[in-house]
């Protein structure tokens, strides 16, 4: 069966802004994966595709300003669909934080996880309607 193994948001320098794992890894393994993904993705430029083979999987990634959004999926999964998934997620972040920038993700890191958890679960896309997600996020915010 195919599903998302992990989602990463990293900046160009290699700092992790979000790491959501849907598969069991040790802390060491996680660190190694983060470094490897960073190495593999930052070396690519506009003339490369947004897909890169990674170990037994593949990474679908997109760069937004200084941040790389990476999703690691099975080799047989639909690349183009995940590109849409990433974009959907980024648009929600943008809306939620009102023109999101990296600092928003830094100072509100736990909220970013909330957004991820509203849109993905168990390595699958869960809610794709931006309006619905934003409504839910605002509700959650009001509970604080």
């Amino acid at each position: 069966t195919v599903w998302i193994r992990f989602i990463l948001i990293q900046n160009r320098a290699g700092k992790t802004r979000l790491a959501k794992w849907y598969m069991q890894f040790d802390d060491d393994e996680k660190q190694k994966l983060i470094e490897e993904v960073h190495a593999v993705v930052t070396v690519r430029d506009a003339k490369h595709t947004n897909f890169v083979e990674f170990r037994n999987f593949k990474i679908i990634y997109r760069r937004y300003a200084g941040l790389y959004f990476c999703i690691c999926v099975d080799v047989t999964d639909n690349n183009l669909a995940y590109l849409e998934g990433i974009h959907n997620f980024v648009e929600v972040l943008n809306e939620y934080f009102h023109n999101v920038c990296e600092l928003d993700l830094v100072f509100n890191f736990y909220k970013v996880y909330t957004v991820v958890d509203e849109m993905f679960l168990a390595g699958e896309i869960r809610e794709t309607s931006q309006t619905k997600v934003l409504k839910q996020l605002l509700m959650l915010q009001s509970l604080e």
Partner: protein
Amino acid sequence: MPAPIRLRELIRTIRTARTQAEEREMIQKECAAIRSSFREEDNTYRCRNVAKLLYMHMLGYPAHFGQLECLKLIASQKFTDKRIGYLGAMLLLDERQDVHLLMTNCIKNDLNHSTQYVQGLALCTLGCMGSSEMCRDLAGEVEKLLKTSNSYLRKKAALCAVHVIRKVPELMEMFLPATKNLLSEKNHGVLHTSVVLLTEMCERSPDMLLHFRKLVPQLVRILKNLIMSGYSPEHDVSGISDPFLQVRILRLLRILGRSDDDSSEAMNDILAQVATNTETSKNVGNAILYETVLTIMDIKSESGLRVLAINILGRFLLNNDKNIRYVALTSLLKTVQTDHNAVQRHRSTIVDCLKDLDVSIKRRAMELSFALVNGNNIRGMMKELLYFLDSCDPEFKADCASGVFLAAEKYAPSKRWHIDTIMRVLTTAGSYVRDDSVPNLIQLITNSVEMHAYTVQRLYKALLDDISQQPLVQVSSWCIGEYGDLLVSGQCEEEEPIQVTEDEVLDVLEGLLVSNLSTPVTRGYSLTAIMKLSTRFSSINRIKKVVSIYGSSIDVELQQRAVEYNALFKKYDHMRPALLERMPIMEKTASNVHTMFFGGYVWYYFFTLNCAFLSLAIPPMTAYSKNGLKIEFTFERANPNPNIAVITIHATNTTEADMTEFVFQAAVPKVSHDLSVTFVLEWPSQSPDLNPIENLWRELKVRVAQQQPQNITALEEICMEEWAKIPATVCENFVKTYRKCLTSVIDNIYRNFWTIKRT
């Protein structure tokens, strides 16, 4: 105790650090403060402290001392506490630690909480990191929530169930009743996650698959509604209604339709409809089209549909977006065997992709191109591929060269074209050609009898230009060695024969021997080539001189060869012509020629073994016959592996007396001269020692060892003692058994054999 600093403030402070060391110091200070706060069991600030800890964890610092605190937060009644607690659990705990089991009860309670957002948190956490044990304990709660009317919870429950099933497949059955009405949901989110759940169940269990096949019509209807429905603002992406749901439904249809004719037929129409009606100007439309193509190719679709799918891929290849070109090439590569003709139609577009800038696109285009080469398009395709070989990155050259050789072998329109193509590869990408290409090429050349003169001439001319590419040089040397006579006699028919003298040829070959660019293997080839020319050229003296000079070469392999060639001149001149004569046509299976040198302390020997000859049988050879001792060699091909040559030695004693001190030695050098050959010599075991005195020494050793001498003096004393103690009967015994010993040695040698394996 002052209140712990706020999260924001901590983040701000840490960001002011100018060095890694400074940052580490701040972190340590804060961790210490947090630790003491934890020790005080402070409920008010626990949430804040854990949040800070999580931030530091994200920066890469250890935070495991906060694990239990997360559990306490989860157990709290405040939503903010729970939220950070669950986040902490997901970040800091993993199922390999027993600590996480403590969560189970909390999660159970929260799954039954009155607030849906708390229930949501619990479902989310369980669905992300629940271990098998937790899943077993809580599956029932998840199943209950799957049946609730609250769509927010139902979505989460469905995916949580997916996780449970992944962890504990046996629990799948439990969720079956709840799936009954999932597809009649109107809520897209629930529909989406339900399709995911159904997909997971069908993929894992053939029984479930059979059970859910009946849902195909319903899925088709849902898909149809999605396509036909008007604008739906909630799920619209660039004018397409809920593309994510469409993709998931297509995938489920794929799984249900695989290897089932009826289901496949039921979906034919909708697939065609999606394929033709989907807007392709943006990536989102293409994502759906791509999934459609994958489905069409996987189910039992009718041929018209398959052609439609391949044409979609062909259109993808023309798209400006390289991502789309990439996925098209990947899919075409998978279908090129089954739908060869349909893919052929897009050949020129595929070949154009060889010029793409993205490396992974180039690679796929190359593989696909080779898959599409056939007898009809070989000339045109090869032109493009050779051009690609010229200009591509080094990482491709080896594969491309091998691909060209293979294609040329299969489809060459003429022998001349074949040899020209090989020449082109050797001259343009010669250093990247694989090692095994050299013997294959040699075989090809040998078997193209009528092209010998042309080939040797072209290769000779190539050598004059460039001697740096070893595979080219090796093949050329070999050729010149074999067909040098054709070269100097100017017999070429295919093109204008060149004028070249024997001395000029020998100059070139000797030049290879001394050049720094030549590898040891290449030098071996050159020397052997020079040697072979001794039977084809008249300037034997020059050749003799070269060979004798290299008899003292520092390179051991070269030296050995030269010595043996020298011996060939001196003692075995009568065998020389036969040994060095032209190679016969080789069978396709036996592609290597070995030259084996064999020496023993009684005689020197060499012979050439050609695998092709083995079937014609090399006649047995008497190696030694003197004073009643006769040694004979017989040769055959091993069964079942014809690549192994079996040489059996028969030793017979025709005298009255016993033969003592019979010791057989074989010196088989590691020969990797001509063509990647190594030898493995296996001496038969169980050959008893042939000198009786050895038995006596052994006896003494055993006795002395039993006494365990502690130093040299003691050793000497004990030796003398034990020696004197050995009774005469022991010695008598050794003598008595000697004849038997000798017979069995000779038998062993007779029966056993050396296995010489070519690798």
